[in-house]
Point group: none
Chain length 129, copies 2
């Protein structure tokens, strides 16, 4: 059975208010700064729960941290990330989904996961570097 706790709710709303990608560590620090007594482990648990519930998505920063963000659209999707300013946009990748699954199957691979992210320079950063 799944229970609703104020801790999970706190993580969910914190993510929604923020909009940007944020690390679990930083989120925990901010919550504590606001007076919350939530534990670090709980933040991690809440975040992974949100990801599996498709309410948030996760990606790895080049530094090896996991970053989380509230998902605006539901379902599985990918990102277009500016490598200058970090701005991200969600992109649909229906074609890529089925392609990944097909290719994996053709080579005898099971349990496919994929990493599909496009890095570039966004409009602003293209104009003023």
């Amino acid at each position: 059975m799944k229970r609703n706790t104020w801790q999970r709710e706190a993580v969910r709303t914190a993510l929604n208010e923020r909009g940007d990608f944020i690390s679990a560590q930083k989120l925990h620090t901010e919550l504590k700064a606001e007076g919350s007594t939530i534990g670090l482990a709980t933040v991690y648990r809440a975040l992974t729960d949100l990801v599996t519930a498709d309410e948030a998505d996760a990606l790895q920063s080049p530094e090896g941290e996991n970053l989380y963000r509230a998902c605006s659209s539901d379902g599985h999707h990918h990102h277009l990330i500016c490598r200058q300013c970090g701005h991200t946009e969600e992109i649909e990748a229906e074609a890529v989904e089925s392609w990944a699954a097909k290719v994996a199957a053709e080579h005898g691979f099971t349990q496919p996961r994929h990493v599909v992210d496009v890095f570039g320079l966004c409009r602003e950063c293209t104009l003023s570097p």
Copy 2:
């Protein structure tokens, strides 16, 4: 001044012979298994050196490990990577290429690069874990 040591050479040739993506940890274990006395820290140092010298590629697995591979100078392609044994198969992704370029352009992004890799369990690892 830059010096040539058998350790760096060992890492370079191990990467070249292998062709697959491999983690620093696993590479170190294999070298030790072959009787080498190389240290783990040295393997890390050699790998990052190779990457900065453009002799190797690095990417992050979904598990947060850094994987390294000798740079095949020929063309651009993608990978199907076993997250158990590290076996890699190259895959054609013509469809993905054009898709990435198109999506980037639609959102005003320039200079698109993309990360498209599929992780799974290969045939052998699916059968005997």
